[in-house]
């Protein structure tokens, strides 16, 4: 038996995921396709947001969705009604999408449609404020939703998610008059955790804020396609 050897490798634990995420991004770029990773806790309103967004967005831009769900295809079925390409990704026990799953989803999408005709791919991640934040999928931007019923403190309690987000959508703001909720405190907590994030208040009931959200998407697509 030989003496122990120490091999200093300084390798990211998630480097296999990051490597696949890079490959996904190269593919998105080759397709000239902007990819958004949509994340939130369960029930913050991701699927409803996509339903409303895609109704209008599909007029101007060719869109597709990869729909992550732990056990069902219920959300994918809702979005398929909008007549856009939707690929469900059932993660089983995993509480987030990883780059391999998205790569698999993209292969299925390629069988449905030529991605060259697409402008934007919206990836709805599994509802969870912890894990999706650490697993890149090759997205160009991360969008985190936070509904006001979750409480003002969530950016402080789940800082990685809100630190990583490029855009934070504060959802269900139509409920503000009915709740003892301080939206300024929430915004201050968001600024503390991530001063660089864009923030938009939005309601799927009154549709307030959707114009700003769609402008945000359009701007990103136009800039990406330049």
């Amino acid at each position: 038996m030989h003496l122990p050897i120490s091999d200093k490798i300084e390798l990211n634990i998630l480097h296999q995921n990051s490597h696949q995420a890079e490959k996904n991004k190269v593919k998105f770029n080759n397709y000239n396709l902007l990819c958004l990773n949509i994340m939130s806790s369960p029930g913050a309103g991701k699927t409803r947001l996509l339903e409303i967004t895609l109704e209008d967005l599909s007029i101007e831009f060719q869109s597709a969705v990869l729909e992550g769900d732990m056990t069902t295809n219920l959300d994918a079925a809702r979005l398929e009604k909008l007549n856009i390409p939707v690929v469900p990704i059932t993660t089983g026990r995993a509480c987030h999408l990883d780059a391999n799953m998205v790569s698999g989803g993209l292969k299925l999408l390629e069988k449905k449609i030529n991605p060259h005709i697409l402008d934007i791919l919206l990836v709805e991640n599994v509802g969870n404020l912890v894990c999706p934040a650490e697993f890149e999928i090759g997205e160009h931007f991360k969008v985190a939703l936070l509904s006001i019923t979750e409480g003002e403190d969530k950016p402080l309690k789940y800082p990685i998610m809100f630190r990583e987000a490029d855009l934070i959508l504060i959802t269900k703001v139509d409920l503000l008059p009915h709740l003892n909720f301080d939206i300024n405190e929430l915004k201050s907590n968001i600024s503390s955790t991530n001063p660089k994030a864009d923030v938009i208040e939005i309601s799927s009931i009154t549709k307030s804020g959707f114009d700003l959200w769609k402008k945000w998407i359009s701007k990103k697509i136009m800039k990406f396609k330049k």
């Binding site: 122990p4 300084e10 026990r93 503390s192």
Partner: protein, 118 residues
């Protein structure tokens, strides 16, 4: 639950590393990790998950060690480094500025691997 997936990634990285070393001829004694405080990883859970996952495998006898890397930020007003606290909204204690720059704490690394040749 994500520690299971972190462990999966860790084992895949170890497999990749071992391929270059001739896996049959080595025994891994320690896998030395550096985990930042500002990550979603709970070190104890990662160790327990790893120990369960490698039972009966070529990594069965290997041990995980974790060096915790402190969460450190830099005040964007006065450039002083500080340890951001949740209770203080991660703001700098010197100038009460929002956390803009993170110096350390996001590490999720295999720092080194201690092994023996059979």
């Amino acid at each position: 639950m994500h520690e299971v997936d972190m462990t999966k990634c860790l084992i895949l990285s170890m497999e990749e590393w071992a391929e270059k070393k001739n896996k049959e001829k080595i025994i891994v004694e320690k896998i030395n990790l550096k985990i930042g405080e500002f990550t979603c990883v709970e070190p104890i859970s990662l160790i327990n998950t790893f120990n369960a996952a490698v039972l009966g495998s070529w990594l069965d006898s290997s041990e995980i060690t974790i060096e915790t890397i402190p969460f450190e930020g830099k005040c964007s007003k006065c450039n002083r480094s500080y340890f951001p606290k949740k209770e203080n909204g991660y703001k700098s204690p010197c100038c009460n500025f929002n956390l803009e720059e993170i110096i350390s704490g996001r590490e999720l690394k295999i720092a080194s691997i201690d092994f023996k040749e059979k």
